[in-house]
C-alpha cells in the first residue's frame, strides 16, 4: 500500500514578492485623485474657481487691508478691511470677562493646570501617570477653589464676574468631566436588571433628551429660584453649569449604552465564569471595551456640549459669545460683529479641532496591535 518515499514530491511554498507599485509621485497622485474622470475634473475645476472667488477677498479683508492699531472704530477704515483693534483693546474682557485685573493670574494658573491635567489625563504614557491621574481627579476642585477664592488671602470673586473664554472653558471642562462618569452610571443603570434603577435612569435620560437645552437653561435660571425657599441663593453660574452637566450626561449615557450593547454576550459569560462579580466585570472587561467603541461618540458629544455652552449668553452669562455681544453694544465698537465672530470662530475651531484630532489619535493607538 505505502508508496516508496522517493515518489513524494517535496512541497516548497513559493517566494512572496512585493506588491505592484502604484503610480507614485505628485503628478501620479494628482491624476489619480483630482482628474480621474470627467466628473472629477469638473469638480476639481469648480472647486478651484470657488476658492479663487472666496479666499483672496477674505484674506484682503482679514489681513492686507485690515486695521491693527486704534482705540475705537473711528480709527478703522471699515469699508476697506477688518477692524482688529476691537479684539486687542478688549482682549482681557474676551479672555476673563469682568474678573478683577489684579486676579487674572489665578485664571491663568487654572488654565496652565488644566493643560497639565489634560496631559496626564489624555496621554497614557506620561511619566508618573499614577500620580498624574490623582491630580486629574483633583483638578476640578483645585480650579474652582482658585477661581472662587475666598481663602488663604485670595480675594473672593463671585461667578457673576467670570466671563469670556474663562467662563466658556470652565463650563465646557466641567460639563465634559462630569458627564462622562455620570453618563457611565446612567448607561449602566438603564441596562440594570433592577427595574427601579432602570426606570429612574430611563426617565431621566428621556426627559432631558426630549427638551431643548435652552428650555432647560431658562428653567434653571428663571423657574428654579421660584421653587426654592426664599433667601436661598444659588448663583447663576452654578445653576447653569448643573443644567449643562445633566444635559450632557443624558447624551453621553446613550452614546455609552450604544458601546455597551456592542459587546458580545460571550464577554459577559467569560467574565462571569471566572468568578468576577458585577463591578469587576464592568470595570475590567466590559467598560474598557465599550468606552473604546464609544470614543467617536463621546468626543462628538463633548464637542457639541462645548459649543452649546454659548447658549448661556441667553440667560445673562457673559461667555465668549455673550461678551462679544456686550462689546458690540458699546458705542465705541458698534457694528463690528464680523470681527468678533470670526475671532470666536477661530477660538472654537482650535479647541474643537484639537479634540477631534485627539480622538483619532486615541482610536488609532488603542486598536493598534489588537486588530483581528
Amino acid at each position: 500500500m505505502t508508496a516508496p518515499e522517493a515518489e513524494l514530491t517535496v512541497w516548497k511554498p513559493a517566494e512572496s514578492r512585493p506588491p505592484p507599485r502604484a503610480a507614485t509621485g505628485a503628478l501620479g497622485w494628482i491624476r489619480e485623485n483630482l482628474f480621474s474622470g470627467w466628473l472629477n475634473t469638473l469638480l476639481t475645476i469648480g472647486s478651484v474657481y470657488l476658492l479663487w472667488v472666496a479666499v483672496p477677498p477674505f484674506l484682503d479683508w482679514a489681513i492686507f487691508s485690515a486695521t491693527w492699531d486704534g482705540a475705537s472704530r473711528q480709527d478703522c477704515d471699515l469699508a476697506a478691511g477688518a477692524c482688529w483693534p476691537v479684539i486687542l483693546v478688549r482682549w482681557e474682557q474676551l479672555m476673563y470677562g469682568f474678573y478683577p485685573n489684579t486676579e487674572h493670574w489665578r485664571a491663568n494658573l487654572a488654565f496652565v493646570l488644566l493643560l497639565v491635567a489634560l496631559f496626564y489625563g489624555l496621554y497614557d504614557k506620561a511619566p508618573g501617570r499614577k500620580y498624574g491621574l490623582l491630580f486629574v481627579c483633583a483638578y476640578p476642585f483645585i480650579a474652582y477653589f482658585l477661581l472662587y477664592g475666598g481663602f488663604a488671602g485670595l480675594e473672593y470673586v463671585e461667578s457673576a464676574k467670570w466671563g469670556g473664554l474663562l467662563l466658556t472653558l470652565a463650563m465646557g471642562v466641567t460639563g465634559i468631566a462630569f458627564s462622562i462618569p455620570f453618563g457611565i452610571i446612567l448607561a449602566l443603570g438603564r441596562r440594570s436588571d433592577l427595574p427601579v434603577i432602570s426606570l429612574i435612569c430611563t426617565v431621566f435620560i428621556e426627559f432631558i433628551r426630549g427638551v431643548p437645552l435652552v428650555t432647560l437653561l431658562f428653567f434653571g435660571n428663571v423657574m428654579l429660584p421660584l421653587f426654592l425657599p426664599e433667601g436661598t441663593n444659588i448663583d447663576n453660574y452654578l445653576r447653569v453649569v448643573i443644567v449643562v452637566c445633566f444635559f450632557a450626561s443624558a447624551y453621553m449615557a446613550e452614546v455609552i449604552r450604544g458601546g455597551l450593547q456592542a459587546i458580545p454576550k460571550g464577554q459577559y459569560e467569560a467574565a462571569a465564569a471566572l468568578g468576577l462579580g458585577y463591578w469587576k466585570m464592568m470595570g475590567f472587561i466590559i467598560l474598557p471595551q465599550a468606552l473604546r467603541i464609544s470614543i467617536p461618540g463621546i468626543v462628538n458629544t463633548s464637542i457639541g456640549l462645548y459649543k452649546d455652552t454659548t447658549l448661556v449668553s441667553l440667560v445673562g452669562l457673559f461667555d465668549l459669545l455673550g461678551m462679544a455681544r456686550a462689546i458690540n453694544a458699546d458705542t465705541k465698537w458698534m457694528g463690528l460683529e464680523i470681527e468678533l465672530y470670526v475671532f470666536i470662530g477661530i477660538v472654537f475651531f482650535i479647541t474643537c479641532f484639537a479634540m477631534s484630532r485627539y480622538s483619532l489619535w486615541l482610536e488609532e493607538r488603542l486598536t493598534r496591535g489588537e486588530r483581528h
Binding site: Q267, A272, E370
Partner: protein, 248 residues
C-alpha cells in the same frame, strides 16, 4: 463532605427557555476526577446542561450541588462556585483588550487576591503547559484560533478550578488546529482533572472519557463507558446518532 461524594450532583433538574422545555428531569452525578463527554444533536440541551453547572443558565426546578455548594439565587454562592469551576467556550471569549498574560492573571489577582508576581509566574507555567509561552505579551487578536483556545484553557486553569467545563471547544477551529487543543485536553485529563466536555470528537471520548452521555430533546437518553457506548448502544436513537457522525 467526603472525598467519595460526587463533585457535581443534579437532581430532577428542569429548565425552560420561554415555553421551550430544554432540560427534562436531568439526574446526573459526577465523581471527583471523572471525565465525562456529553454528545447529542444540536438543540438537545447539552450546552445548557453544562452551562447550568456554573449558573450561566439558571435552572427553574430541581437541585444542583457543586462541590458541596447548592446553586441558588444567592450571588455569593454563585461567585464561589464560579471561581471553583473553569469554563472553556466554543468561541474562546478571550478579552480582546488585554494581553494573553493579562487574560490569565486578571481573575487570579482580583478574585483570588494573588500577588501580581505570583499570578504571573503561575500564568507563565500554564502557558508553558499549553505550549504557547512565547505569546504571553500578544493580544488575542494576533493569535490563531487554536492558540486562542489554548490561552482560554490556561486562563480557566489559572483559577485552580476543581472542575473544568468544555462547551464544544473545537467546533470553531480549523481542522489543523483541533489536534493542538485536544492534546492539551488529553494532558489535562491525564492529570486527574474532573472534566465535563460537550464535544463531538469521538476519538477524544474514546481516549479519555470514563463515561459518555448522549442527550436528545432535553433528556439523557443513554450513558455508558466509551467502549460499550460506541460498540454496543442500547437505544435506537443513540445508534442512529452514532451512525450519522461516524459514517464519514
Amino acid at each position: 463532605m467526603n472525598a467519595s461524594d460526587p463533585i457535581i450532583e443534579m437532581r430532577g433538574v428542569n429548565k425552560w427557555f420561554g415555553a421551550f422545555h430544554v432540560l427534562k428531569d436531568i439526574n446526573l452525578e459526577v465523581a471527583r476526577g471523572e471525565r465525562i463527554v456529553v454528545c447529542g444533536p444540536s438543540g438537545s440541551g447539552k450546552s445548557t446542561l453544562v452551562r447550568c453547572v456554573n449558573r450561566l443558565e439558571e435552572h427553574q426546578e430541581g437541585d444542583i450541588v457543586v462541590d458541596g455548594i447548592k446553586l441558588t439565587n444567592d450571588l455569593k454562592n454563585i461567585d464561589q462556585v464560579r471561581s471553583e469551576v473553569g469554563m472553556v467556550f466554543q468561541s474562546f471569549n478571550l478579552f480582546p483588550h488585554l494581553t494573553v498574560m493579562e487574560n490569565c492573571t486578571l481573575a487570579p489577582i482580583w478574585v483570588r487576591k494573588l500577588p501580581k508576581a505570583q499570578a504571573e509566574e503561575q500564568a507563565m507555567a500554564l502557558l508553558e503547559r499549553v505550549k504557547i509561552p512565547e505569546q504571553a505579551d500578544k493580544y488575542p487578536g494576533q493569535l490563531s484560533g487554536g492558540q486562542q483556545q489554548r490561552v482560554a484553557i490556561a486562563r480557566a486553569l489559572a483559577m485552580n478550578p476543581r472542575i473544568m467545563l468544555f462547551d464544544e471547544p473545537t467546533s470553531a477551529l480549523d481542522p489543523e488546529m483541533i489536534k493542538e487543543v485536544l492534546d492539551v485536553m488529553v494532558d489535562l485529563a491525564e492529570s486527574g482533572m474532573t472534566m465535563l466536555c460537550v464535544t463531538h470528537e469521538m476519538g477524544f471520548a474514546r481516549q479519555v472519557a470514563n463515561r459518555v452521555i448522549f442527550m436528545d430533546e432535553g433528556e439523557i437518553v443513554e450513558q455508558n463507558d466509551p467502549e460499550e457506548f460506541f460498540h454496543n448502544p442500547r437505544n435506537d436513537r443513540t445508534k442512529l446518532f452514532l451512525s450519522q457522525i461516524l459514517s464519514h
